[in-house]
Symmetry: D3
Subunit: 258 residues, 6 copies
């Protein structure tokens, strides 16, 4: 076994794994439209793939839980097929998952999240559940820490949803998510509230995604490639595993491990 | 396309599919111990596989949603790795999924459930959400309706969890769930409350699964086979699709469809 | 005193009774239409009467709580006078009753339920409250275990609500519930979803009772009698008390007790 | 029929009654200790009896619902047998009862309450449910308006729980609630917080009933009589029915009705 | 320092104060219309001012928390500007404030409330939170205990909202709340439900304030004065501090303290 | 009147103001430790002052509501005096405030927040309440948009809580919040989880503030000044008012207005 993936283990194997495991990695995605060139399970699948790769690096100190395959996607709801959980529902799921695993002896958790729309809910969840369940809860965007690779490869001023970055990740991690024959640039709306409400602006606020883009994606997916995906994913995995080993305070040589 | 599986569709494909779709099939599983010879994602995977097969039969009238891959498994919680949702959490997830899909125009729902421990919660959910969301909600155990195949092939007096029936289904639908080298009969406890509390007894009540079986399964998994699985699964799919076509009140020749 | 009925005891008498009491019996009924020949409190009264009789048999080991005289009756709501509790409300009531009685030292509970529509909610309640309150919770339909008497006396293929079985029970336990001059067979609807959704069918689901019966009852109340009621009730009480004594693990001769 | 009591009506009788009914009377009691001389169902039974008498006076304009036979009794919980609902549970029950009856066409409600400990919760409920359900909600203590009869007959400076007033009401309405052989004055504690926290004091606050009285009652039950009960009950019924007829804005001669 | 006001203290000063503090005073107001001559923050400001004065008298045994500056004002909501909290929201705030302060070591609490519409909610809160948080909770209307001063100075038969009593209190405590040029008597409605539903009547119930008064106030504000305010406020502070010192069971000479 | 501040208006003045008002500004602060040199109401007061200044600029198109003077401060709870609301409580308050104001005709809202720890909760609130209440909800940190003034004046690598930026804002807006005689640099902990979990790091997570700083503040308060405060505040007000006027889509010359 090269990773502890709860979904493919028997209870006796889990019992054995718990002798070394200190951390549970909970993959969290979304089910939402990703423009004309990505299927709607994109975030769920990418979170799962990243969790598996990170689990390998953290072996035998981490185990991977089932993927939370829907998330907070209210802003995408007017595109057909999108399913959105209430933030309170996502927190309830996390409470149940974490308290079940605490029952098995795990006290540190990483919420590994591929969907920007979940981040605030995860912040709130980590605060509430740390207190309610007396555990340590961390959370991370799957590839946000790959700053060098992103800076080098992503050129669109507005990116982050079914763009060259995300499509590249998918080409590397799960190419079946991509409709190569349909790759499109985001069909950005000239005007609208969204321009005032993007991250970094003076004011934030809820807006619907179709206010910003007609085809549902942003950035330029036609520039995506397997190589860019590899660069981003591996840099992120380096960063995440380095930080996690520090947090676990392990007396191991991290680089030797990887 | 031979089925409408939301997880592998783009929003434009969903938009097209919604022209014929009348029903959403929501696969519901669990994440729980299944004895020494099945992995813990068993119920989630079986629900998903059954939903895909049922979706094919109901094409182009049904679509399949992402799988709810955890369920109500409190009674298995003392076996390592089991994760249990509170019944209220499962109902909250269903409320969000169903109201999202109602936003897209779907008004009939089948909760296709592979895990007995979810049934009462699904009954409560169907009652509450029918009223709150003004939709039609049906639910079914994935293979419970295959009464002939089960009667013919399942001989253990106590069966229903990682037994010859479930292992056979897995061998047919998802053999990677089974550890063929570990197949074991249930290691049933001689005495205990559980004997008084089984279905059909005068009194019911909550008990922990280890009160009934030491190794976590019941029945006799060593008698499982691909052929039994095929018989059970196909009989169940016949029954489910027949009933659904009647419920949809379609003016189509059901047998011709299949 | 031949029974410990909380509603007719002073606190000093309760204090004395608690020296032997190990179990609380909580009668749970409903307030809903019962066709033209039974009044709407039927289930509440029958649950109360059964609890009193069972309490006598379990004396001095059980006490009887006040009756929960409304239940989950959403499916009857279109018949005038029906009152329905949300499942969450019924669970909240049970949580309060059980935690109050636990404060007095009782740790085993039987939810004695006369109304089929409550069963799933009681299953969910027993699971949730066992965990939350750290007690043992059992539940039972009042007379469902009287299989012999029912098999012998009930001939309608579709029965269970204001039918020969229930009216017979009422004639024996509380004849004031019955309008003898109005006894009617169920006025069953020829067609409809209900036929597909009855217990044992491939698919279940919520439907309104008027989809199934125009006059609100099923079965054939004209065949009811005091004698049938006596047979059913006493067989059920035999079964329930036998099982409860086993669950209490009493070193007493059960039959001598009765 | 001289009253419309939902518990003893068939749905067809309710259907007929709804042609004139404008108001539902919901009796609300409690299940709590009442000292050595009254049984614990006292408040539930008195509320029910009062509702029946008031229903007769309001016939055919009012109907009586099933009695809510437990209430908010946290302050009595240290006396054996007391059961207390959370205020939120009582509000949930009322929401379900009122919304069910609104479904049947009733839009005015009287919460007829015999237990002081419920009053604040009923005030909160009337405010919340008026808004949520768009109905008119009134509430009243069963006999608090009988100011003349109380002034004339009740001499204890501290009364209101199993005292001469309440025992007298019971002797008139439901003598089976009273243990005549055990009548006792309240065994009042000399000192304690309770003296500072009674109604009318500068500060209020929660205290347990045993801080105030060792035997669980206050006042002087030995002075109770059927005649005092009759005086109090009938004066209260005069007041309540007069006020209700005004609220219903009926063009009927109230006194002729009674 | 003459008072411990949390809003104007650093954490080191709070740390020092906690060596003597036994009680937290939580001022609770409302944000609601007060007729043409008082601004809408009236209750919030008066509660805060009273808390500061009471805190001075209780120094160094009490500290004052931030003011809860909105309350339950559903009945005023049809007057422009009124903001109303749900009772459940107010209870949630109190739960958070009290549990935070219990974390700092305080176990006694006075909810000092200036707004009648909050009283029932505070009663419910004190009952629920006493149990949930294991603390002592008291509550008081700011000036209701000044019975002599009120009897002597308030002559309107219907008073209690922006009347001579409240305006006088404001003139003494916070004259900026009053529009002296607009002082008006309440413009009382001749007819209406309100007449039947006032405190002391046989029946209570929710009604909107405009059913009772067209200009939003009652009583006669033109009779208000600084002197009346002083008399009421100081009598109330005498009563409140006397009672609190008794509740704290301090071995100090109360009058010397003040 | 130069601003519409609900706390100092009568209902008639509000009625008049509502003729032009399109936006409500809701100031949101916190009650938490701010090191040895700022009092605990700091965030509440700064939010209120900023709202008043912004309200002046937006006059007569905006009104200012009462300040929410406590917030989500779980991470500061181990410093004496801190009070923390649950995120769900803050959302409940906002729901009540916004739905009350929607009742008065306002449909656009700015949550003007001075406390970083509230941001995620406000993001969640804006998403949930936009949907539930059908309004437009925006939120902003009070001075975060003053990027030039901050870049120019704030030199500490780690700042944002009782640092030179916040103390400067206070010196300009509310100098009474500052203990000039106690100004201290943050007493930063050399080691700890916090270093890995700051904004911009690969992983985020909940940690307690004392893990990062012994005296409770960060940055260097000794460098604060009135002038820096003025620069930051006025730049932020320029940005906020510019953005709001665009969002209101007013046909007015914004600069002339200010």
């Amino acid at each position: 076994m090269e990773e502890f993936d709860l979904t493919s283990m028997t209870w006796k194997e889990v019992e054995e794994a718990l002798k070394t495991v200190q951390l549970a990695i909970i993959p969290i995605g979304a089910h939402e439209q990703h423009g004309p060139h990505m299927v709607e399970s994109c975030d769920a699948v990418l979170a799962e793939k990243m969790a598996q790769k990170l689990g390998k690096r953290m072996f035998p100190y981490a185990l991977i839980t089932p993927t939370i395959n829907m998330g907070v996607s209210q802003h995408h709801l007017n595109f057909p097929g999108t399913i959105s959980l209430q933030p309170t529902t996502l927190i309830a799921i996390l409470k149940d998952v974490i308290s079940s695993l605490k029952h098995h002896g795990i006290e540190k958790f990483l919420l590994l999240n591929s969907h920007g729309g979940n981040q605030s809910t995860l912040n709130v969840a980590s605060l509430m559940l740390t207190k309610d369940l007396d555990v340590e809860i961390y959370y991370a965007k799957t590839t946000a820490s790959a700053k060098n690779a992103i800076k080098e490869n992503v050129t669109s001023p507005l990116f982050g949803h079914s763009c060259e970055r995300e499509v590249s990740e998918a080409l590397y991690l799960a190419p079946e998510l991509v409709r190569l024959e349909n790759l499109e640039k985001g069909d950005i709306q000239e005007e609208g509230r969204w321009k005032q409400l993007r991250p970094g602006k003076a004011i934030q606020g809820f807006y619907y995604y179709e206010e910003m883009t007609k085809n549902g994606n942003i950035g330029d997916a036609t520039k995506a490639s397997w190589e860019i995906g590899q660069q981003i994913v591996e840099e992120a995995l380096d960063n995440l595993s380095n930080e996690l080993f520090k947090l676990l305070d392990l007396k191991v040589d991290v680089h030797q491990k990887i």
